[in-house]
């Protein structure tokens, strides 16, 4: 498989009055063409910042400290705004968390999709473009499975349900046939049934359009159905990355264990849900060693002193924890075999 997107040793900081916030610290990963990569972690761990930095949508007080972003073999790290504008929409586009703030409440949804379509096809402001644009809008609305697109064309965002609005946002993102779709928590604002519908739709569109998707989420349970690979982020770093099977059936990083164990499915029949103790560290002065060490019940002495490197488990599975070092004590994962006996009832 070819790498569509490659991020190499990327570090991003925000300059604030309180000091420098290191939101993303030395992150490397690659996105193959035609796969869904899920980016999972608690809020504030840098998932959204990472996505926005790929699109170069970050505010003025942020800067890329080091590292490269390579799209399709071309290094876009130093691209200026005009060059980026050419890439946005047809190479990559983004779906945001809250569809209500993305859409303009005073314009019909058809027009909003049409705006994206006309810009992407170069028809913006041209005469007699409206018929072509209209056709394409209806086609997009059908693609995201909106019933009666001709009628819905004239609806305002507030007249649609949350799931429907998210579909409109998806249609806008798909207007330029992007190769990479960055979905930043697309289902967090939705309830369970709609969430599974939207994720299924995302998977279907990804297959049909042969796109690559980066799916950001805080819920390891929700992304299990669609993700091909999973990357777990903590305090601005990727701590574990691997195929979905590897991360769910054979997780190696204590933080991944914690995330999995805090799902209610794993606490069935127990008196209390598992929670990860403590709070994530502030990223203004991140701790010297492993950022997770102070919340980690399996922490070793070296965790407080030195940052663990990425240990290779298989060719696709890597984790950053000293527990994988050959001198470390062998610890059996507390969630290893549990996945298999969770909920046979449904």
């Amino acid at each position: 498989m070819k790498d569509l997107l490659e991020v190499r040793n990327l570090s991003i900081s925000f300059d604030t009055r309180r000091g420098e916030i290191q939101a993303v610290r030395d992150v490397s990963f690659n996105l193959h063409s035609g796969e869904i990569l899920a980016l999972v972690g608690e809020s504030g761990c840098g998932k959204s910042v990472l996505c926005k930095s790929i699109m170069k949508l970050l505010h003025g007080n942020s800067r890329i400290k080091s590292g490269n972003i390579i799209v399709d073999g071309e290094d876009i790290t130093g691209y200026c705004e005009r060059d980026m504008q050419k890439l946005r929409g047809n190479v990559f586009s983004m779906i945001f968390q809250d569809p209500m703030t993305v859409l303009n409440p005073t314009i019909t949804v058809g027009k909003q999709i049409g705006e994206a379509v006309s810009i992407q096809t170069g028809l913006y402001g041209k005469r007699r473009a409206s018929v072509k644009v209209h056709e394409r809008v209806i086609e997009l609305m059908k693609q995201v499975k909106i019933d009666h697109p001709e009628e819905r064309y004239f609806s305002y965002p507030h007249e649609l349900s949350g799931g429907m609005r998210q579909r409109i946002v998806m249609a806008i993102a798909l207007a330029g046939n992007p190769k990479i779709l960055l979905a930043d928590e697309p289902t967090t604002a939705l309830d369970v049934t709609i969430q599974s519908q939207i994720l299924e739709l995302l998977k279907e569109i990804q297959k049909n359009n042969k796109m690559s998707v980066i799916l950001v989420s805080h819920d390891l349970g929700a992304v299990a159905s669609v993700a091909d690979r999973v990357a777990v982020m903590y305090a601005g770093k990727i701590v574990e990355i691997g195929t979905a099977e590897e991360v769910y059936y054979d997780p190696r990083h204590p933080y991944t264990w914690g995330l999995l164990r805090s799902l209610p499915a794993f606490s069935k029949g127990r008196d209390e849900l598992y929670t990860i103790p403590g709070m994530p560290p502030t990223l203004i002065n991140p701790p010297m060693g492993d950022a997770f060490a102070c919340r980690n019940e399996y922490a070793l002495e070296i965790d407080y002193k030195e940052m663990p490197p990425m240990f290779r488990i298989t060719d696709t599975h890597y984790a950053a924890t000293w527990l994988l070092h050959e001198q470390a004590p062998k610890i059996v994962s507390p969630v290893g075999g549990m996945v298999s006996d969770v909920r046979n009832s449904y």
């Binding site: 608690e42 809020s43 504030g44 349900s161 949350g162 967090t188 939705l190 309830d191 369970v192 049934t193 709609i194 969430q195 599974s196 519908q197 299924e200 805080h218 819920d219 390891l220 349970g221 929700a222 299990a224 159905s225 993700a227 979905a244 099977e245 769910y248 914690g258 995330l259 999995l260 805090s262 799902l263 209610p264 499915a265 794993f266 606490s267 069935k268 209390e272 849900l273 598992y274 929670t275 990860i276 709070m279 996945v339 298999s340 969770v342 909920r343 009832s345 449904y346």
Partner: protein, 277 residues
């Protein structure tokens, strides 16, 4: 366990769109909550869960039906006025979005102590500040947060302050309207543990509204399922999850995501359509 605290009888609530049309948000719903029970209410957004909660809390006046709280008809104006103080202190509500339900310009201590001041409640621990500190400690936060403003706190901490505010009146009925929907999974687990622990100690009656069935299964004694304004199924948690009767309940159960990629990929997810069945 046997005493009935709240009795909802055929409650209907309409929202008028214009002179001719109205939306029926809650349609002929009846159920009872026993004292000391945790009742979960699930359903997709727009099912009328929040409207029902607001009717119970007297924030909306139901179009038809009665809601009896300890035998007092709260929808009747005269009876409400007679027991106003008791009704307003002994029933408390926690909202979904803690950023908008908490005043951003008040310190945590003032937020928690505000109900005490409004209701002129005698503070058993001396001052309002001591009371706030006690409640804050109770929900698992330390006194250092007392003088902080909400924007300085994380989402989970803000939600804890909202819970502490509700608890400061020592309520008998606590209604929580999607209290964990906007939180991270690990924080959700903390809040759920907190609710379970508090309920055990205080013994208050709890109406828990959520769309997350997995959490509801863990927390609640009984679960009601709402669909398009109607209560379609109400059963003890174990029965509902092992033997769902209504097709919509089955659809909801099939939508719970499992942390198991292989099985999840092959699972068939149903879509429930009221017109078809």
């Amino acid at each position: 366990m046997s005493e009935i605290l709240i009795d909802v009888q055929n409650v209907t609530h309409h929202f008028k769109l214009n002179r001719k049309t109205a939306i029926c948000a809650v349609d002929q719903v009846s159920f009872q909550i026993k004292k000391g029970e945790i009742l979960g209410l699930v359903g997709e957004s727009g099912a009328g869960k929040s409207t029902l909660a607001r009717c119970i809390m007297n924030l909306y006046q139901p179009t038809a039906g009665r809601i009896l709280y300890k035998g007092i008809d709260t929808c009747d104006r005269r009876q409400f006025k007679e027991h106003k103080k008791m009704l307003q202190t002994k029933r408390q509500l926690i909202f979904q979005d803690s950023t908008s339900s908490i005043n951003q310009r008040m310190k945590a201590v003032d937020i928690i102590a505000e109900p005490l001041r409004i209701n002129h409640v005698h503070t058993p621990r001396g001052s309002a500040r001591a009371e706030a500190e006690f409640q804050l400690h109770y929900v698992g936060m330390d006194a250092g947060c007392l003088d902080k403003y909400p924007p300085e706190l994380s989402g989970g901490e803000r939600q804890r302050i909202a819970i502490a505010r509700a608890l400061s009146m020592e309520p008998e009925l606590l209604v929580a309207d999607e209290p964990i929907a906007s939180l991270d999974v690990s924080i959700q687990a903390q809040i759920i543990n907190l609710f379970k622990h508090l309920q055990k100690e205080h013994g208050f009656t709890f109406l828990f509204i959520s769309h997350d069935l997995a959490m509801v299964e863990y927390l609640c004694d009984r679960v009601g399922v709402m669909y398009q304004g109607r209560l379609v199924e109400l059963a003890p948690t174990r029965d509902l999850f092992s033997n769902p009767q209504h097709p919509y309940t089955r659809t909801l159960l099939s939508a719970i995501p499992l942390p198991d990629p292989k099985r999840e990929r092959n699972r068939r997810k149903g879509v429930y359509d009221a017109q078809k069945s």
